[in-house]
């Protein structure tokens, strides 16, 4: 009974949605509420990954806004890039972007992805994501909170 009563006490756990999305770009598929996302870790400390999994978890539930994580860039409309771009990941990141069908959107998540964060100037770092591939949406924070990631995703899904 313990689990049932706990569920009964807590009730709904999903964070309520903030008011309507602010469109940053046109939805790449031309349809609102449908965005297939491929995540690329270009050299992250995995802090952003933890927050992304929070954003797609049951509490923040990004899927209700139409964003879905997919396993292959061939299936994706958008890339979700985290971390500084390291030397080993620069070319794979370009290859992955080339594998995403056009039109496509690149979302850079976290301070490292925006401006190299604490890793700026390190020997293995090529630069921020925008130094390697064109970026459409950026999410600040180290790491950004799941709510911020949701906001960025909603600005693309338009829902």
């Amino acid at each position: 009974m313990g689990w049932w009563s706990r569920i009964g006490r807590i009730g709904r756990i999903v964070e309520p949605a903030k008011t309507g999305p602010v469109l940053a770009v046109e939805p790449p598929t031309g349809v609102r509420g449908s965005l297939q996302v491929r995540h690329v870790d270009a050299g992250s400390c995995n802090g952003c990954e933890v927050e992304i999994s929070g954003a797609f978890g049951p509490v923040y539930d990004a899927e209700r806004f139409g964003a879905r994580l997919v396993a292959s860039p061939r299936h994706a409309d958008a890339l979700l890039v985290t971390g500084v771009v390291t030397r080993n990941m620069a070319q794979p990141l370009r290859n992955t972007l080339a594998a995403v069908p056009e039109p496509r959107v690149v979302i850079a998540v976290g301070d490292c992805a925006r401006n190299c964060g604490v890793f700026a100037g390190a020997y293995g770092v090529v630069g921020a994501v925008r130094d390697v591939v064109p970026v459409d949406v950026e999410v600040p924070g180290c790491p950004p909170r799941p709510g911020d990631i949701i906001e960025a995703l909603r600005s693309v899904t338009g829902r």
Partner: protein
């Protein structure tokens, strides 16, 4: 990290066989003779099928016993089959002999081998049959030993010689017992006096012939010579052995057990059903995990011959339980599958020979990407593989469909054996057909598609025109059997009529292989030609519709292949034959018992860093290991024990002679 991958028995590239002076005219003359013998076989076979000949006795050829030939529909079918296999092989031989430098002995023994096979099928008496059989065995042994400078070939030759001679002993005993108890030597006489043979003698003859002819047909557990001898023999010889010679094992079973002694008791049918079913499933399972292309094809032969014998066993069992119209369907399935197997296996071995001649490779794990340099061979091997799959448009489809129809329409309401055996047989056929698809997809996909996995595969050359012509003939035969089996319908009906399926002389309606095949007493019917036409039409429609739909889509963009972010795909990333079969190998672990071994070398500084991984996997034939090796060990031990009597002392040997003479004198007193 470097990964050294060695999988399967290492198949060394075949070196040029000999340094004998090359006489181009010799190869051409031997090939022409082979083709001529083949054409002769076809003519004799067709004559035997359409016309009733009296037996011919050629007394002067062999003293005392003479040579007795009898052309009848059953022998005629096999004569025509052997001839039809020989003709494409002979054409192919012109180019193959030049490419692979076949020695003159091999070239001249090939037509002799074919002639010996024809003699077996045309034999009209027990002695002639046995003579032909032994000539065939000896000729094939010489051919297997073509490349005798290599140890593997010599070992395969010894193995083949032992199995084939043991089989011959069994056949010799069986036919001598039969001949003496019936009091006749000719087949016609035996058929007339078969009633004199006691049931115990019939049973003895049946068991001995199943062992003897089963060893020739590559049935379990005497199949082990096939995967040893076929890969090591030159490819045209493999084609002849696998598509023509093994069929004579079936011929022997049909001639002696089904025709002369038939119809047999029910347990004969059950024995054939079990042996056939086990051979089919075990053979195809080994084919699925084999990485040597010719070994794979050899195991596929065991599978297909198993299916044929299963069909014969089903026919016997059904006839014995009174379902004779369904039994005729099973007989038709067996005979048609015999033809289909001969057609696609000839083509498959010839194509494997082209690959061997063009690359020097037999190991599928080192092939790949042959479709670009060898387009014609690739298409032709595809035709053979489709035939072996038993799918529509393939040569084996109609016969396997007939077999399944016979098995599922068996009346099972009044007979527990039939009710139990038939569903199990359907299961065996379904499993072996499904696994055959896996094996053939592996052989075709891994061997011919994707990118070359080795420099040899990269440097592949297309086969010579004569080789392509030979394969083209075999492919045409495959197409005929797949699309219009009605062309061989008459021959099959005449041969099937020679097999008695019941005590009553009046035989039931036989299967008519018309454009639309209808089965007697069964509701099912099929039209393979129309099936092919509709499939082609549907494909054309699909291509046309997609072309029409493409007008509304955005223009195509060319992007590099997705390699998970890596810059380019390398041949090392491709699926290998070993990897393809690995899941199945896991599932059938208990049957296959693979011998795998992984060695990991770590860096000296840290246990966490791997310097080198050595992986070795070998699949040894389980039956060979668990059945043959103990017997071999026992024979060795016994021979060692007997050798104690051989001290090298001349006086002792003289003493042995004296004792032996005394024993003989006392016994013959």
């Amino acid at each position: 990290m470097t990964t050294a991958l060695t999988a399967g028995p290492a198949a060394p590239a075949q070196a040029p066989v000999s340094a004998t002076p090359r006489w181009p005219w010799l190869a051409r003359a031997a090939s022409a003779l082979t083709v001529a013998v083949g054409v002769l076989g076809v003519i004799a076979g067709v004559a035997g099928l359409v016309h009733r000949f009296a037996p011919v006795r050629v007394g002067w050829l062999i003293p005392l016993i003479g040579l007795r030939l009898h052309l009848d529909p059953l022998g005629g079918l096999f004569l025509a089959l052997i001839g039809a296999v020989t003709v494409p092989v002979g054409v192919y031989l012109v180019g193959y002999a030049r490419r692979e430098h076949l020695p003159p002995l091999t070239l001249w023994v090939i037509p002799a081998f074919v002639a010996a096979m024809l003699l077996v099928a045309a034999a009209g008496s027990v002695t002639t049959f046995l003579l032909g059989w032994e000539l065939m065995a000896l000729a094939s042994l010489v051919l297997v030993l073509t490349d005798h400078r290599r140890d593997v070939v010599r070992a395969a030759g010894v193995f083949y010689a032992i199995v084939t001679q043991l089989g011959f002993v069994a056949i010799l005993l069986a036919l001598m017992l039969l001949s003496s108890s019936a009091g006749a030597d000719s087949f016609a006489g035996l058929a007339a006096h078969a009633g004199r043979v006691s049931p115990a003698m019939r049973a003895t003859v049946f068991v001995l012939t199943v062992i003897g002819f089963g060893s020739k047909a590559g049935l379990l557990p005497l199949h082990a010579w096939l995967p040893r001898a076929h890969p090591e023999a030159p490819s045209p010889v493999s084609a002849l052995m696998s598509a023509a010679m093994v069929n004579l094992g079936v011929y022997g079973l049909v001639r002696v057990d089904l025709q002369l002694l038939g119809p047999g008791p029910r347990w004969w049918g059950v024995v054939l059903l079990i042996v056939g079913g086990l051979s089919a499933v075990y053979g195809v399972l080994q084919a699925t995990v084999a990485t040597d292309l010719k070994r794979l094809l050899a195991y596929s032969t065991t599978e297909n011959l198993g299916l044929i014998v299963l069909a014969l066993g089903a026919a016997e069992l059904l006839a014995a339980s009174g379902a004779r119209s369904v039994a005729t369907v099973a007989i038709a399935a067996a005979l048609l599958h015999l033809l289909a197997h001969a057609a696609f296996k000839t083509l498959a071995f010839l194509a494997a020979g082209s690959v061997l001649a063009g690359t020097g490779l037999r190991d599928l794990d080192r092939m790949g990407g042959l479709a670009r340099p060898m387009p014609v061979t690739t298409v032709l091997f595809g035709v053979a593989a489709l035939g072996a799959c038993g799918l529509p448009l393939g040569a084996g489809f109609v016969s396997e469909w007939l077999l399944v129809q016979a098995l599922i329409h068996a009346p099972r309401h009044h007979d527990a054996t039939v009710a139990l055996a038939m569903p199990l047989a359907v299961g065996a056929v379904a499993l072996s057909t499904g696994l055959a698809v896996t094996a053939m997809v592996k052989a075709f996909g891994v061997g011919f598609l994707a990118r070359p996995r080795s420099p040899e595969a990269e440097r592949a050359r297309e086969a010579e025109p004569s080789m392509l012509a030979g394969m083209g003939l075999a492919a045409a035969a495959c197409a005929v059997l797949a699309l219009t089996p009605s062309l061989v319908g008459g021959a099959l009906r005449r041969a099937a009529a020679a097999i008695p399926l019941g005590p009553v002389a009046a035989s039931p309606a036989h299967v008519r292989l018309d454009a639309r095949i209808r089965l007697p007493g069964v509701a099912g019917s099929i039209a393979p030609g129309w099936l092919a036409v509709s499939l082609l039409a549907a494909t054309a429609c699909a291509i046309g519709l997609s072309g029409w739909g493409r007008r509304h889509r955005p223009p195509r963009a060319a992007v590099p292949l997705w390699a998970c972010g890596a810059d380019e795909l390398s041949p090392r990333m491709q699926y290998t034959a070993t990897a393809f079969a690995e899941p199945l190998q896991r599932v059938f672990d208990d049957v296959l018992r693979p011998d795998t071994d992984i060695e990991i070398t770590h860096h000296a500084e840290s246990r966490y860093l791997v310097q080198k991984v050595h992986f070795r996997a070998e699949i040894v034939d389980g039956i060979e290991r668990r059945l043959y090796q103990p017997i071999e060990g026992a024979v060795r031990a016994w021979a060692g024990w007997v050798r104690r009597a051989h001290s090298g002392n001349v006086h002792l040997y003289l003493g042995y002679g004296a004792i032996g003479l005394l024993v003989v004198l006392v016994l013959a007193r």
